[in-house]
């Protein structure tokens, strides 16, 4: 139809404007701000001094490393756990499959704040499950609250539904006949999986890994409540700069650093998994 292209761009315009005005412009302002001098550092901006400062102090370097480590460990634990779950869920159909998917959507909708309340109770003093064992002297006190392990446990729980849903969608798109064809050609159940299902599921494993890593690295609630001041990550560091030390420029630099590291991680993950994806 005449002008169909024009109409298409017109319909895309509001969403592109929304992105540009409510995300692009604010991010640009924030990044510009991160190049400015502040109460702590006096230099003639714009310059990268704020970034240099954050990268030269071992305290902040630890925060950066901790953020990356937590996100990486969370991803490495979540993807296999989620993959197995998605493989099992794939066989369910009808009512059971429906319920299973709803069960995964529900924690996402309930929100991380309510979920983290549960973890605060469950991790404190061993909580209701480990607590009695500790009291009976069977195991030592786990001290998970305030530890990196505690944060990672809650992160895994928080991102698992996203991983399972992504992998499940990807696995469902693989025709079951392909696996059957491999079996009919003499492949065992395991080698059928290794040669057919696994390679075909790699694109969804890649998206799941990117989603999981990004969610974990950008999570605020879990490190704030379960990690506390001793386990700062870049997100909680940004909050500290804004709410405790009132240094907007360093906050902007920390946020810029987080964006940069996440971008690098996405590229790294894509390169690592992507080279196995054919065609």
């Amino acid at each position: 139809m005449t002008g169909a292209r024009g109409v298409q761009w017109l319909l895309l315009l509001p969403s592109l404007l929304l992105l540009a005005l409510l995300l692009g412009l604010p991010l640009a302002a924030m990044l510009a701000n991160s190049l400015q001098p502040n109460v702590l550092l006096s230099f003639t901006g714009p310059a990268l001094d704020n970034y240099g400062y954050l990268l030269s102090r071992s305290y902040y370097l630890q925060v950066i490393l901790r953020t990356l480590r937590m996100a990486a460990v969370t991803t490495l634990v979540t993807i296999p756990l989620g993959y197995i779950a998605a493989m099992l869920l794939r066989r369910l159909s009808g009512r059971a499959g429906n319920l299973a998917i709803m069960g995964l959507t529900f924690p996402i909708l309930a929100g991380p704040l309510t979920v983290v309340l549960g973890w605060m109770a469950l991790l404190a003093n061993g909580g209701p499950f480990l607590g009695p064992l500790v009291a009976a002297g069977l195991i030592g006190p786990p001290n998970l609250l305030g530890s990196e392990t505690g944060v990672v446990i809650s992160l895994v729980q928080f991102v698992l539904p996203f991983a399972v849903l992504t992998l499940y969608t990807g696995l469902r798109q693989i025709q079951p006949q392909l696996h059957e064809a491999a079996r009919s050609l003499g492949a065992g159940s395991l080698s059928g999986f290794l040669h057919v299902t696994l390679p075909l599921s790699l694109p969804s494993a890649l998206s799941a890994s990117i989603i999981v890593f990004s969610l974990a690295a950008s999570s605020f609630i879990s490190p704030h409540y379960l990690g506390g001041a001793g386990q700062l990550t870049l997100t909680t560091l940004v909050t500290q700069f804004i709410m405790a030390t009132f240094n907007a420029e360093l906050a902007a630099a920390a946020a810029g650093l987080l964006l940069l590291l996440m971008l690098a991680a996405v590229i790294g993950i894509t390169a690592a998994i992507g080279r196995f994806i054919r065609p």
Partner: protein, 262 residues
């Protein structure tokens, strides 16, 4: 062997779901515990913590603020995402569609704390306060990709030939949209709005730097409350949210047959 395999698979899923839903179930259980500390051994069953919420007006007014912010953000997101999803599904070549959909999903990859900070700093660069609309903006840009995804899924099942049928029968653009397109896509639109509303309603980090005492959202009030102390009342507040989210999930599935995943 076969049976053992099935049993092992079932057990795995059971443990996984317990792990995923456990904290929520524990919060709900705690909200009925009369003990005043949190966490504490169970001492019985009470609804007094729910009654206590009603005596805290800041929670009720914050819930109201959250509802208004969530409704505005979801409405904006759904309208904008609908237009984009429609254009992409109808005309785009598959590669252009993929690239556009990825670009429009980009807010998902920006940490919510960073979105909040960026809007705060843009406002201060312009020398204005963020105010109520800064809050709505942050929520809208964050939930838009979720609406887009649901609408793209809905449109993938939409047979555009029905629009041509309507046009060949004499319907103009406007009446075709009103009579055919919008009614058929209503489930996706309603589901998109509901998901966006809930995601915005329960979100804390987006609001972190953008609220004033007048515009505190419910998660912000809970955040402040938890900073000072933790008691089962906050678990009761959380339980109400969990209950509402659960009800919405079930209603969407039952009546609109819409889920985040097909």
């Amino acid at each position: 062997m076969r049976f053992l395999g099935k049993a092992a698979g079932g057990l795995y899923l059971l443990l996984l779901y317990l792990f995923v839903a456990g904290p929520l179930l524990f919060v709900i259980a705690t909200s009925f515990n009369p003990a005043t500390s949190f966490p504490a051994p169970f001492e019985g069953l009470t609804l007094s913590w729910y009654a206590a919420i009603l005596r805290r007006p800041e929670f009720l007014s914050a819930a109201g603020t959250s509802a208004v912010v969530a409704a505005l953000a979801a409405a904006l997101a759904v309208v904008v995402a609908f237009l984009a999803a429609y254009a992409l599904s109808r005309n785009g070549s598959s590669s252009a569609r993929g690239a556009m959909a990825t670009l429009l999903a980009s807010p998902l990859l920006v940490p919510q704390v960073v979105i909040s900070l960026a809007i705060l700093q843009l406002a201060s660069a312009w020398g204005v306060g963020t105010g109520f609309w800064g809050l709505v903006a942050a929520h809208a840009v964050y939930v838009m990709p979720f609406a887009l995804r649901l609408l793209l899924t809905g449109l993938a099942r939409f047979d555009f030939a029905v629009e041509e049928a309507s046009r060949s029968l004499g319907g103009g653009w406007l009446s075709t949209w009103r009579e055919v397109t919008l009614p058929l896509l209503r489930p996706s639109i309603v589901a998109g709005f509901t998901f966006c509303f809930i995601l915005s309603f329960v979100n804390l980090p987006l609001s972190l730097f953008l609220t004033s005492p007048d515009t505190a959202t419910l998660p912000i009030v809970m955040f402040a409350y938890i900073e000072s102390r933790i008691d089962p009342m906050i678990a009761a507040v959380a339980s109400v949210i969990v209950l509402a989210a659960g009800t919405a999930t079930i209603l969407l599935d039952r009546f609109l047959h819409v889920r985040l995943v097909d």
